[in-house]
């Protein structure tokens, strides 16, 4: 029978309870940043040692301080921003929000998903974490990716979405 009941209230994104990313992933993020800056510091050290030492001997310490400052600032932004990364799953769509200065919330309906991917990086693997990405048609750079949820959950979500798509 054809049914078409009037809808009084649409389900709203505002009433959704969002779930945070596991704290362990913050460690992964910080390890990544730390590794990156270790490389950057090594590079800077070599550069100063073999080149800049002679050219601008008075300013080399400022360079270290500058890079250290950037490192601390990025870490701080990531730590504060981390608590803003949240996701939510509904019967028919998946949502993700993030950002401190640039807030963003994205929702992808399951019916438009082309495929789902679960990836785990080498560091994430140590903590049994994974990222889940969904792709829709068209320019997929702006689709949704949830980084650093527990791997078992990521696989569950993937399974759930796959089921919904095939229905």
């Amino acid at each position: 029978m054809f049914e078409n009941q009037q809808i009084e209230q649409l389900p709203s994104i505002e009433e959704l309870t969002f779930k945070g990313i596991p704290k362990a992933y913050l460690k992964v993020v910080l390890i990544h940043v730390f590794l990156f800056f270790t490389v950057a510091f090594t590079g800077l050290f070599l550069l100063i040692r073999y080149k800049l030492q002679e050219e601008i001997p008075n300013y080399t310490s400022y360079l270290y301080v500058g890079v250290l400052g950037v490192f601390l600032l990025i870490s701080l932004i990531l730590i504060v921003g981390f608590s803003r990364r949240k996701y939510a799953l509904r019967e028919k769509d998946i949502s993700y929000k993030s950002g401190i200065f640039f807030k963003k919330i994205t929702t992808v309906p399951f019916s438009r998903i082309q495929h789902v991917e679960v990836d785990e990086g080498p560091v994430s693997r140590l903590f049994k974490l994974a990222s889940i990405s969904v792709f829709t048609a068209g320019d997929s750079s702006d689709d949704l990716e949830i980084k650093g949820i527990e791997k078992t959950e990521a696989l569950q979500i993937k399974e759930f979405i796959s089921q919904q798509i095939n229905e």
Binding site: I7, S12, I100, K104, I105, P109, R112, A137
Partner: protein
């Protein structure tokens, strides 16, 4: 349907295809090496006879090798239809086997460049969307075979198609040369000029690279510097230069419009548009109603006076949107009645008429001012660094009012309204654009808010479609959330296929 080709066995294209492939290979070669020819002609008198003989032999060998390559390409290019799939094998050394399911096929287009027109064959290109990145072009098929292939591929989806009646049909739109002149004259010549300059810069880079290879960069640059110095010195020359730019702008508008839209005719058949256009390369496109993701109807003040506008149809594309802009289908010179018909076929716009227009928040203006401010600042910085002449900064007297006007217009023209199924977004600065997007075509939806917007409780709402993004800038958060929820509701409850 007398001599029906069934395509059940692997078959090659028409032997004339060798010629077409050879032509395109030659074209590619010329595009890469035209400057060498220029050098050759310039140095012709200085060369000894022996060198000349070697050069001639070299050229003939290259030409022969290309012909051989064309023949092999032709010989190894075979296709068939099997089990609702289009199957293609190609490649001389590296063999590729491609198979595309019919429902993945978005469009089958016919094209004819000069060679193809001359030897009376059609290039059939098969466009796909989604994750498959293949694009297939069969270079040379006689008209009947091309039609038959198209019919067989589209038949499974659309069994009511019959070609026999086309000739009697009245086209929805037929643009005469006179109308095309009107369209060209009212184009945005500034944009045409920029496009032309972009092509020029591309050529300049190519030449420069070649000259660099020959070790003559200094000469080449000084040649240009001298020229620049002469122009810089004289006010009359600057005026002439500006006039020349205007003429070039107008001319390139004409060339662009005539090249792409010459002899434009549009038919409506079985819920689909058939669009034919082009001067040197004739294109024939069949655009199905359900494949259209969104359309934009645009006009500008002068075109509006003449009652004409152009329409851009956007279809699903895979990969990066910016690179595939040419895939959007544009038709020009539409009158109001034709626009209505196009809209009627695609969507139900009736309810939209009664809907109320909503304008965007004033912060949009502030943001545009801020962004233009940055652009102007950078521009002045560059001026300051590269020239010592103070009078040059007078240019700002012209630029600031122009920017101001554009921002004001852009703010005034940005609005949105929606009916139960359809969103209409107005935009533009000098021109006016109306974008129509059915809610169920949306792929995902996003709300964005920066720290300045947060204070005013406004957000940007971004609809991601298979044909690119559509953004409503700076609207009240409550309103945005309402549309957000509603869009999701429409998408999740629709059973119609978005493609």
């Amino acid at each position: 349907m007398s001599s029906v080709h069934r395509f059940t066995e692997f078959s090659k294209q028409s032997p004339k295809g060798i010629l077409v492939i050879y032509g395109s290979l030659l074209y590619k070669l010329l595009k890469g090496t035209w400057f060498l020819f220029f050098l050759f002609i310039k140095g012709f008198s200085k060369m000894s006879e022996v060198t000349l003989v070697y050069i001639y032999i070299g050229i003939s060998v290259v030409l022969l090798l290309l012909l051989l390559r064309a023949f092999l390409l032709y010989k190894n290019f075979q296709f068939k239809i099997a089990d609702n799939h289009f199957v293609l094998k190609q490649g001389i050394l590296k063999k590729t086997n491609t198979s595309i399911s019919f429902d993945r096929i978005q469009n089958i287009n016919f094209k004819q460049n000069l060679i193809q027109q001359f030897i009376k064959v059609y290039e059939v290109s098969i466009e796909t969307a989604g994750s498959i990145k293949t694009e297939i072009a069969i270079k040379a098929l006689p008209y009947e075979r091309a039609q038959e292939l198209k019919r067989q591929i589209l038949l499974t989806e659309n069994p009511f198609q019959d070609d026999s009646e086309i000739s009697k049909e009245k086209p929805l739109l037929k643009i005469s040369v006179l109308e095309l002149l009107k369209v060209s004259l009212t184009e945005n010549h500034f944009k045409s000029l920029l496009l032309f300059l972009a092509v020029l810069i591309g050529l300049y880079q190519q030449v420069k690279d070649l000259v660099k290879g020959l070790g003559k960069t200094a000469d080449f640059d000084s040649y240009f510097d001298e020229g620049a110095a002469v122009i810089y010195g004289s006010l009359i020359l600057i005026t002439i230069f500006l006039l020349l730019l205007i003429v070039i702008g107008v001319l390139s508008s004409f060339v662009r419009i005539f090249l792409f839209h010459f002899n434009l005719t549009v038919f409506i058949r079985d819920q689909a548009f058939e669009i034919n256009q082009g001067l040197i390369t004739k294109k024939s496109i069949l655009l199905k109603k359900e494949k259209v993701q969104n359309i934009t109807i645009s006009t500008n003040p002068i075109k509006e006076k003449l009652g004409i506008s152009f329409v851009i149809f956007k279809q699903a594309i895979s990969g990066k949107v910016a690179k595939k802009k040419h895939k959007a289908i544009k038709i020009v010179g539409c009158k109001a009645a034709q626009i209505t018909k196009i809209k009627e076929l695609l969507f139900d716009t009736e309810k939209l008429e009664t809907a109320e227009k909503d304008y965007v928040d004033g912060y949009y203006k502030t943001r545009m001012c801020f962004r233009s401010g940055i652009v102007l600042f950078l521009f002045n910085l560059i001026l300051y660094i590269s020239f010592e002449e103070v009078t040059l900064f007078l240019v700002n007297m012209l630029l600031i009012p122009v920017f101001g006007l554009l921002i004001h217009l852009s703010f005034k023209k940005t609005f949105y309204k929606f009916s139960s199924d359809l969103l209409l977004l107005g935009s533009g600065s000098l021109g006016t654009h109306y974008t129509y997007l059915p809610f169920f075509k949306v792929q995902n939806i996003q709300i964005k808010q920066n720290i300045f917007q947060e204070r005013r409780n406004i957000v940007d709402l971004v609809f991601q479609t298979a044909a690119g993004k559509i953004k409503i800038p700076c609207i009240k958060k409550e309103k945005a959330i309402e549309i957000y929820d509603y869009t999701l509701y429409k998408v999740e409850n629709s059973t119609a296929s978005w493609m």
